[in-house]
């Protein structure tokens, strides 16, 4: 199986499974949800079959605060895997973002000049539909949100 590409955007799409569907559906509706462990309260991301801290399979999709702090940054200046849709967005500001609820995720930061991007920057999630079935969170600097 090769990567699924949205022909309209030229960008990759996820394969949606029952495990991951709640995330994609919520993001399509403009909400951030994460799996919360009902035993130890850890938020797991990306979706896991059990809690990677305590091993409990009792994970429930839970609303998470759409705020975070940038943990690491890169500014991608060329398309590395030839999904042509990224070309129009270069440079892509890609970050690792520590969400306020305690999970870390890859996220694209927009509405920010490359030279202003920095570790420690506070960001707020917004949501972009990437297909009829799925959305993803993207982030913008909090002061502009």
């Amino acid at each position: 199986m090769s990567a699924i590409v949205n022909p309209a955007t030229g960008k990759p799409l996820p394969t949606i499974t029952d495990l991951t569907r709640p995330f994609w559906t919520a993001a399509r509706e403009g909400r951030l949800v994460l799996q919360k462990c009902q035993r130890c309260a850890t938020f797991n991301f990306h979706p896991k079959p059990w809690c990677i801290e305590c091993g409990s399979r009792d994970l429930q999709w839970t609303d998470a605060k759409p705020f975070g702090t940038i943990y690491a940054t890169t500014i991608s200046r060329s398309v590395a895997m030839n999904f042509p849709g990224w070309q129009a967005e270069l440079p892509v500001l890609l970050c690792l973002i520590d969400l306020d609820d305690g999970a870390r995720m890859y996220g694209q930061v927009t509405h920010c000049k490359p030279e202003a991007l920095h570790i420690g920057m506070r960001v707020k999630a917004y949501f972009e539909a990437i297909s009829d079935d799925a959305g993803i969170p993207k982030f913008r600097p909090l002061q502009d949100a």
């Binding site: 199986m1 090769s2 990567a3 590409v5 960008k11 990759p12 799409l13 996820p14 394969t15 949606i16 495990l19 991951t20 850890t42 938020f43 797991n44 991301f45 990306h46 979706p47 990677i52 801290e53 943990y71 690491a72 940054t73 890169t74 500014i75 991608s76 200046r77 060329s78 398309v79 590395a80 895997m81 030839n82 999904f83 990224w86 892509v92 890609l94 970050c95 690792l96 520590d98 305690g102 999970a103 870390r104 995720m105 890859y106 996220g107 694209q108 570790i119 990437i130 799925a134 993803i136």
Partner: protein
């Protein structure tokens, strides 16, 4: 503890950049070619491995189910034990450890370990660059590709940016590692890029994804490598230059800190390296060369730190203050590494540090020979977990003495 296993043969095929007109070999052909070289070096034949062990590293180019058994079929070998590693750039090292355990417990006497890949001929969703179907499968991809992660360089650039935030390293220090690899490539006929470049060339090279530059990246090649490991007793009947596995350490899925919010500026070598040194009964001061898994210069630098050659955060300064040439005070990547030697797929590049270490310890490194080499460290480093560096970290201490 005296080592009971030794490497007695190794092979590395010429690499190909798959330019128009170059012969196009399959993974099976590269495996046979590398195995042929290793068997010739060992003075053995394929029939010596009937009833023994065969180890096969994962290849990303499309292959059949039961891959290790299929390789045995293609080579006409009927082993009692099949090893199969899917630990990316740690696969070659992992199979050496597994083979050693099998040999020490008497299950087999010898194992032929092979690996090859043709990443420049992987049918790809993204024409023009290697991206195997298995890299776009599963939650790992689903929560990266659509989010804007465009490949390994972006993933590692994020790690490096955090490192630079918490510690100190300059582009000049990282550039020295790349320049050093190219210098050694000039002394190794098998390296794919051999024309020296300067630190200024490195600094002037295009930024692909900050802070990773073009000359931070490995050139992808097609190729194959292999080695033969056997009991010390058998080894001494085959060669007067066996290379013994003196110590090993391995860390898989290493986290520093919590699993949710780990500190990504440390690698699993912080666990694996002390284990390997302790088993070998040596310290950092005894080590005469380091062959890191240099998929990026800063990974080589973190490997130095996490092996305890200096404190965390001082790797850049360590690189600056030491001579990394084969005849310097800290010989590193003496074959040109993957940075200038070429990476025959992310799963196979891990054979290179091991085979260069054996070459050095046998005194067969020619113009790049480390003088009187008796003991060195070889590293495996494989896989890219979500938001962290290196799924598998393996440190090996190899020596001319058991």
């Amino acid at each position: 503890m005296r080592s009971e296993v030794a490497i007695v043969g190794f092979g590395r095929t010429p690499y190909s950049r798959a330019r128009p007109g170059d012969p196009v070999l399959t993974v099976d052909e590269y495996i046979a070619w590398a195995a042929d070289l290793a068997l010739q070096k060992a003075g053995m034949s394929k029939n010596d491995f009937d009833g023994q062990g065969l180890g096969v590293a994962h290849a990303e180019a499309a292959h059949t189910v039961n891959w290790s058994a299929a390789v045995a079929e293609n080579l006409g070998i009927s082993p009692t034990v099949l090893l199969r590693a899917d630990q990316g750039g740690a696969s070659a090292s992992a199979m050496l450890i597994r083979a050693a355990a099998m040999i020490q417990s008497g299950i087999v006497d010898r194992v032929l370990v092979v690996g090859a890949d043709t990443p420049l001929h992987i049918p790809s969703a993204a024409p023009g660059l290697p991206l195997s179907p298995e890299r776009t499968r599963g939650v790992y991809w689903d929560f990266q590709g659509p989010f804007g992660v465009m490949g390994a360089s972006a993933q590692f650039a994020l790690v490096l940016s955090r490192y630079m935030h918490e510690h100190k390293v300059t582009p000049e220090q990282l550039g020295k590692i790349a320049v050093n690899a190219r210098y050694h490539a000039g002394l190794h006929e098998g390296a794919i890029y051999r024309t020296p470049f300067t630190l200024q060339d490195y600094l002037d090279s295009r930024v692909l994804t900050d802070p990773i530059r073009l000359l931070d990246c490995v050139p992808i090649v097609n190729g194959g490598l292999a080695y033969v490991v056997t009991s010390a007793k058998t080894a001494r009947t085959l060669t007067d230059r066996p290379v013994y596995l003196r110590g090993f350490g391995e860390a898989n899925n290493y986290y520093r800190g919590s699993r949710s919010l780990p500190d990504i500026t440390y690698t699993g070598f912080t666990q694996a390296a002390p284990q390997a040194l302790q088993m070998a009964g040596v310290t950092q001061r005894d080590i005469q060369f380091l062959q890191p898994y240099d998929d990026y210069p800063f990974i080589a630098m973190m490997t130095i730190e996490d092996h305890g050659f200096c404190k965390k955060g001082e790797g850049g300064r360590f690189v600056e203050e030491h001579d990394l040439h084969f005849d310097g005070d800290f010989p590193m990547s003496t074959d040109g590494g993957q940075l200038s030697g070429g990476q025959p797929g992310g799963a196979i590049g891990g054979f290179m540090p091991l085979i260069e270490s054996v070459t050095q310890l046998r005194g067969e490194a020619g113009a790049r020979q480390v003088r009187d080499a008796r003991i060195g460290i070889s590293c495996g480093f494989g896989g890219i977990p979500y938001g962290r560096p290196g799924r598998s970290c393996i440190s090996l201490v190899l020596s001319t003495e058991p």
